[in-house]
Structures are given as structure tokens and as C-alpha cells.
């Protein structure tokens, strides 16, 4: 995916908001790619974590909005324990996810879950899934 940088696309407010909610300084990311190489969900995300960090540094709101990465991130923290810059990437993903959830954009529709699935799933799957992907 080529990255086009234009002043029109940069949003400093978004960058500051993500820093505030996540408490993380993603400006220190030096693009080593360890996070993306460690990510178990890498095949299913549209933008790998390393690129999310770059987009945040640039404040590229549109590309960040379109990425499915924060929704597919399983918060397994593998990237975080391996990050040489000590960035807690799952916190950054949570911030990006929350910015959508707080605008009432849910990822999981409760009504679409079939009753047989509800009775089969362990409670911790339901509780954590709703906690992470619904507002």
C-alpha cells in the first residue's frame, strides 16, 4: 500500500487524542516491524501495526479510520512485550477502537449472534467480546 502524505490528511487533534487515551508515545516508534512480525492476526488486518504507528505519527486520519486493525487486534500483548521502544501497542489499538465506539460505531451486532452460539460460547468470550467491540 503506497502512503501518500498530504497536509490535507494530517490531523493533529487525532494524534493528541490517541496519545491522551492510550498514554503511549508512538512518536518513538522507529518502524522495526517486530510488532507486525509477532501479530497472530496479521493475515486478517488491512494495516499492520507498524504502519498504524506511522499513520499516527503523520496523523493520517482517513487511513486510520479505514483500517480494520483495531477491531481485529485480540489484545494478546505479544507486540507489546517484544517492542524495543516499550510502546504498549494494544493500548494504542484500544484508543483507536474507543474513538469509534464513542461515536456509536459498533463492530459486533448483538442481534446477529445466533441463540445456539450464545448457549455454546463460554461467558468470558461474550463478556470480553462485548467489552471490546460494542459501546
Amino acid at each position: 500500500m503506497p502512503l501518500f502524505i498530504s497536509k490535507r490528511d494530517t490531523d493533529d487533534k487525532l494524534r493528541r487524542k490517541v496519545m491522551e487515551i492510550s498514554g503511549q508515545n508512538f512518536q518513538t516508534c522507529f518502524q522495526c516491524g517486530t510488532c507486525s512480525g509477532s501479530c497472530p492476526m496479521a493475515d486478517h488486518i488491512t494495516v499492520i501495526p507498524r504502519k498504524i504507528m506511522a499513520l499516527l505519527q503523520l496523523g493520517n486520519k482517513k487511513a486510520l479510520e479505514e483500517a480494520n486493525t483495531p477491531w481485529i487486534c485480540a489484545s494478546c500483548h505479544t507486540c507489546m512485550v517484544r517492542c524495543p521502544r516499550g510502546i504498549d501497542i494494544p493500548r494504542v489499538m484500544e484508543a483507536l477502537r474507543l474513538l469509534k465506539l464513542r461515536r456509536n460505531i459498533d463492530h459486533v451486532e448483538l442481534k446477529k449472534i445466533k441463540p445456539e452460539e450464545v448457549s455454546d460460547l463460554p461467558q468470558i468470550a461474550m463478556v470480553s467480546g462485548f467489552r471490546k467491540m460494542t459501546s
Partner: protein, 295 residues
Amino acid sequence: MKLSYYPGCTLKTKAKNLELSALAALKALGIEVDELERWNCCGAVYSLADDDLIHLVAPVRDLIRVKESGHDTVMTLCSMCFNTLARANELMKHDEEKRFTINTFMDEEPDYAGEVKVVHFLDFIRDDYGFDKLKEKVINPLTGLKVAPYYGCTLLRPREVAIDKPDNPSVLHRFLEALGATVVDFPSSTTCCGTYQVLGAPEASLRVSHEILGDAVRHGTEALALTCPLCDYNLGRRQDKMLEKYDDAGEVPVYYFTQLMAIALGVDPGISHFELNRKSALELLKARNLIKASA
């Protein structure tokens, strides 16, 4: 020895085979547990946002209940409960500002400042009971059973609550060795199974789980031992879906680590409720004469 115990919701319903086998195994070791008289959901996942404190109220309340019960340590079996309780505890211990806000919000509860210690069953056995002592209690060793230890995420990450080294753990290896099993090491033993993404991205979590099982089999395992009810769902109960979708999928018996422990300690297999596992789990134990064929 009496130990304060926080079960969590799933252990009372879908993962009875985890709770009942663990409690029976502890009893065989002479350890009694004292389940908290009152407890509520831990929240299952820890909140990662700096401006979200309300989700910490649930785990902190549980920790207050432990303190009230007069115990200084609480033991958990569910990996997710362990993670949420341990992280909430760390925050209450170290973040003065957030501790003040949470304590002020729960003004009818006694103040809490991280006084309780949160342990998981596995680090309790390792640090307080000891693997050598466990080995002595084994009367039905799992000799010849090739088991791969699967850790998942929440016991090892993040670092501040990890019960072992996040990238090179050994606690479950040593636990299974003490039970007499042949431990099969495999690279994916700490790879995430896809967790709650079974709700949001079911295909993605199915693929990750399938790859983990495939990796374990390629390294010569016959069975997987795991600790978390959500891992059990993804890696064990969703094997039917894997068999439907992937040509190279096969049956892999999946056990809770405590079920294998109970068998090794000679506990009546009925207590471990193998009917809640895949059929292959009980069949393998019978084929190896670890359980009488009539059971």
C-alpha cells in the same frame, strides 16, 4: 493449608471440568480452598484506556472481598480472571491518583491499596507447593503420553503480571513433567488463539487456532494441555469447524492442565467431567490405560 479462591463465571458453567478437576486435585494434595462468599464478574478483559476507570470497579470489588475475608492471597484458575484481577491489583498498588479516584467512587466500600496478592493455580503449585512435592504425590504417572503445553496470552503478558518469562516460559512444562508426561515443546505454545475475536472475526480466530494445533502435531504431540476456558473453546470445541474448513485438520485431544493432574493423582475420573471435552480426550486416556476402559 487454606487458600482463598476466586472462581469466575465460566468455571461455574461451561468450564466445570476445569474447576472440579482442580479442586479435587488440590484436595488430593491436602490443600483446602475457601471460595469467596461473595464475588462478581472480573470483567474478563482489562481496560486499556487511561480515561476508563469504571471498568476497574468490578475487579477491585473482588479484591476488597478477599481482604475482608481475612486472606492475604487469592488463587484463580481462569487465566482471564487472573489477568484482570492481577492488573487491577497492580494499578491499585502503584497509581496513587487512580487509586484515589476509584476508592472515592466506591465510597461505601473500604479503601483498597493492593494489599492482596493474586496468584494463579500454576504459580501457587510452583512457588508454594513445589513440583518435587507434586511429583511425590503422583500415583498414576502419565508415562508415555506426549503432551504439548499451551500457555496462551493472559498468564504471560503483559510482563508486570506474568507468572513466567513471556517469551520463554517453563512453568507448564515443569508441571506436566512432574505428572510424568513426555513434554512436547512447540513454537506456537505462546501464540494467541484468537480469544474473543470468535465474536468479531470468527474466521481469523479459527485460522490462528488451526495453525497452533497443526504446529503442535508437527512437533509430535498427541494432546494439548491448556489453562484457559476461552483457549479451550477456540482450540478444542471449535475443532469441528476446523475439520469442515481445512483439509489438513485432524482431531487433537485438548485437556485442562488440572484434568491431567487429577488423573495423575489418582482422582476418580468422573470428577474431571471429560464429557465436556471432545470425545477424543477420554478415548486417548483409556487407550493408554490411564483410565480404566470401563470408566
